[in-house]
Subunit: 258 residues, 2 copies
Amino acid sequence: MGRPLILVSNDDGIVSRGIRVLIEAMHAIGEVLVVAPDSPQSGMGHAITIGEPLRLIPSNLFDDLGIKAYKCSGTPADCVKLAKHHILKDRNPDLVVSGVNHGSNLAVSVLYSGTMSAAIEGAIEGYPSIGYSLADFDHDADFSHTIEPIQHIAKQVLEKGIGKGVALNVNFPPKQNEKLKGIKICRQAKAHWEEEFDHRKDPYGRPYFWLAGNFVNLDKGEDTDVWAVDHNYVSVVPCQYDLTAYHAIPEINDSWDI
Amino acid sequence: MGRPLILVSNDDGIVSRGIRVLIEAMHAIGEVLVVAPDSPQSGMGHAITIGEPLRLIPSNLFDDLGIKAYKCSGTPADCVKLAKHHILKDRNPDLVVSGVNHGSNLAVSVLYSGTMSAAIEGAIEGYPSIGYSLADFDHDADFSHTIEPIQHIAKQVLEKGIGKGVALNVNFPPKQNEKLKGIKICRQAKAHWEEEFDHRKDPYGRPYFWLAGNFVNLDKGEDTDVWAVDHNYVSVVPCQYDLTAYHAIPEINDSWDI
């Protein structure tokens, strides 16, 4: 193919550090179009905006790279839909990428992740799609070690494709003294958040709650995304949007009175 | 067991018609606790609120039934988390139900569905969980035919359980002249929304977009949720939150250079 067309989105918003890292990495590979939220959308899951109008406004943030960009008032999934149906129309992206998220999207967090919702929306539209996240919530997180593997994974996907209905969830460990050990294709760990709510009073004495919690991994498998990132590998989980638990269909048919 | 404890939530908001239908149906089966959004949350997917505080305020809406209820400023997933971690604490619900959604959640819509996110959040917490939706967007939609199967399915789940990590996505056809044909355990249809955006101008001449679209089903299988509801069956899709596309792991390992 010629230079591939790459759609870039994210959930931290168009002014975040991570999206510039991703845009610069993709700029070396293909023609880039950016459509990203105008404000942070972390934790938005696969939300879409149906009850109110969406704004889509050109952005000059990446003029220095000669890259066309738009900021959108909606969610990451809205951004991908608008890019496809309003901006690109009859052209199809060769690749949809989202991120680099400032913080991990491991294990069940994939469900809450706006980063991955952009990638999964890309897969639903039929495009090879990848969400990238850096497992480092530090404000000054170093993204430099992510660039080469970001490009390597994108090139593999462009050259070899991924199956229909699959989007990749890629997580990078925080930058360490030793080099990354490599890339591992993983399953989603059976880990979850143990939530607590901070119960506080506002200045008027009224109660409010703030979600907090600890990530708990009881899954000791060495084939999981959590294990990989903990051991300084880049984790790649192929994710599908067919949520059917096929194994449960015969179980229910056998046991229920219906 | 004694009277089971049933947590009820939804995404249309605590004042919606559908949640009262579900609460009344569950009231006949067990002890009910309601924690539901204070405003409509349709299309919220599996969003959670992390960047701002949550309010949780007692509601007297179901005092006529002697049922304790709370309205929450957050998403359906937030409601389930707050119910578990702030209200119930050491008590565990025997069942989490969500709905009845005013409109279908078939095929890939499960990803965008706030109704199903409450149910999936329940499954993540380890509870048997069900999301109910009525495939009728009409303002005056008749919910009467849903009550008996809502109760039947809830009782089957309470008596026989469902596998760990599985939540049920139940959809009812619109009320018709003939009786429901029965309950069908299904897979999620490979159908999707073909979006269009209405491109309009606001009173100040600035452009905005409104998401619209048609539901397109190219999946001719008779084992899908779309087929079942189209043929006047109640569809039940067991859904999992492990999104790993296991089949893709060896494919990628075989074809990529890593």
